[in-house]
Amino acid sequence: MRASVIWLLSAAVAVAALGGGAADQPKPKPIWERNAPLPPGFNVGDAFPTFALRSAADGRPVSVAEFRGKKLIVNIFASW
């Protein structure tokens, strides 16, 4: 629930950034609605890390570099 609340709070700022279109970089959020800074590689303008993780389907290591050459949406979630 806490994560949802944080997302609701942060939604307005991020939507504004998307809707504006001119700037890629969202405005900094106030501290009370931010999580800890994202790790290097997860921020706008960073080279996204080319880490590998195991496929949840078959356990095979898969590098996100395999998706290079296409625009990519990375959705990180948990089912709980």
């Binding site: 997302w7 999580n35 790790p39 997860f42 949840a56 990519l72 990375v74 959705n75 990180i76």
Partner: protein
């Protein structure tokens, strides 16, 4: 849950080849997320980050990466799914002068680097081995993180990864009896070092006492299985079924079974099994507790494969009787682990219950006694018998620090 919203917003763009989507699951058991995606008819490639190698504080997190590997949007809200085509997919981004290098870990080199015996080298080797190992690597991953933790005390991510690796081994054929308890101990240590980690907090809560206002963890699994089956499909099987603690409703995972109202063997007359037929593993969450607090006890009973012991399923199910010390309270005195459908079987059987430590309890090591009664057979067609297994669940009580609220 933002996943279905993103799927709705991206499905046609994916079909048109304009964008790729990859899901990364921050769960100990990622096949549960696969079941969720099957339920929602989402076919995204799904990667598992059970050890939180990405070092993230919370989920969900949605990121847009251009074709050159540059992050264009981060922390995207659900509402952005409606406009993502205009704001990202149809945008043209400049090609960088040099593309970011692709990281490919060299396991032998990382292993060789551990001879320098630095925390960084051991952690890097453990990280790489957890992904690139042959599937039987959890013992070596644990050893690598243990070296790192010894060399650099207080590194929270190492503690979390160590806990997750212990639980991975616990769920594998290489399981050691204390792995689950060790997992909890390291997760708790990680959270103590960095209490803002929501993903870590949920991992501890997943196995701990039911929350006062229960937030569902995996209650959706029942609905998912029913709906998938109603579509004529077979729900993906799970390698590890959720424990009772992982449902919001206490006792929800336990089928209706005959629970004794009175103590079944008060005089201790049933012959004892001291491990010849059934081994017992205990885990307590949290592993240390202060007076006035509650812990959740997980017991796992495993037939001894060496003696070819089998459960006899044509009789009453395993019953566990909790005998808490005086002044302690428990959420149930008797717990039943249901029988399997076959006449005999060898699956592990689990029992969970909660005990509350009285405010007057002195600090130190103590134990919560109890016993299991079960029917067990020597082999598939062997002699069957009724046995009692006495269990003493160890518990460490720590003094409450002055000014600490419960």
């Amino acid at each position: 849950m933002d996943v279905p919203v993103w799927h709705a917003g991206l499905a046609q763009l994916e079909k048109d080849g304009k964008v790729a989507v990859v899901a990364i699951v921050q769960e100990q058991h990622p096949d549960r997320a696969r079941l969720f995606l099957q339920w929602k008819r989402i076919g995204w490639p799904t990667l598992a980050d059970s050890l939180d190698l990405l070092n993230l504080e919370t989920v969900p997190l949605t990121i847009a990466v251009d074709e050159y590997g540059i992050v264009r949007f981060t922390e995207l809200p659900m509402s952005a799914a409606k406009t993502i085509e205009q704001t990202f997919v149809n945008q043209t981004y400049p090609k960088p002068a040099a593309l970011p290098p692709i990281d490919r870990p060299d396991l032998p080199a990382l292993r060789a680097a551990t001879t320098r015996n630095t925390a960084h080298a051991w952690r890097a080797y453990g990280d790489a081995l957890s992904v690139w190992g042959d599937g039987r690597q959890w013992g070596d991953v644990i050893a690598a993180y243990q070296h790192a933790a010894q060399l650099e005390h207080g590194d929270a991510p190492t503690e979390f990864r160590l806990g997750s690796a212990f639980r991975k081994r616990y769920d594998s054929s290489a399981r050691q009896p204390a792995d689950f308890q060790d997992a909890e101990r390291h997760w708790a240590q990680a959270l103590d070092l960095d209490p803002n980690r929501y993903i870590w907090r949920r991992r501890v809560q997943q196995y701990g006492p039911h929350l006062e206002t229960p937030e569902p963890f995996f209650d959706w699994i029942r609905d998912a299985r029913a709906e998938i089956a109603s579509r004529g499909e077979t729900p993906l099987s799970l390698t590890v079924e959720p424990a009772d603690s992982e449902y919001a409703t206490a006792g929800a995972s336990v089928a209706a079974a005959k629970v004794p109202a009175a103590e079944p063997d008060p005089r201790g007359r049933i012959r004892r099994d001291r491990g010849e037929f059934v081994a017992v593993e205990t885990a307590v969450v949290p592993s240390t507790v202060t007076p006035g607090d509650t812990v959740r006890v997980h017991l796992t009973f495993r037939p001894n494969l060496r003696t070819k012991a089998h459960w006899n399923n044509e009789v009453d199910a395993l019953v566990y009787w909790v005998s808490p010390p005086r002044a302690w309270t428990t959420d149930r005195r008797a717990v039943v682990a249901p029988n399997a459908a076959a006449e005999v079987s060898q699956e592990p059987r689990t029992v969970e219950f909660e005990v509350k430590v009285p405010e007057t309890q002195a600090p130190g090591a103590t134990a919560v006694p109890g016993y299991a009664l079960y029917y067990v057979c020597e082999g598939v067609n062997g002699v069957c018998m009724y046995r009692r297994r006495d269990v003493s669940v160890p518990l460490q009580i720590t003094a409450r620090q002055k000014g600490t609220k419960r």
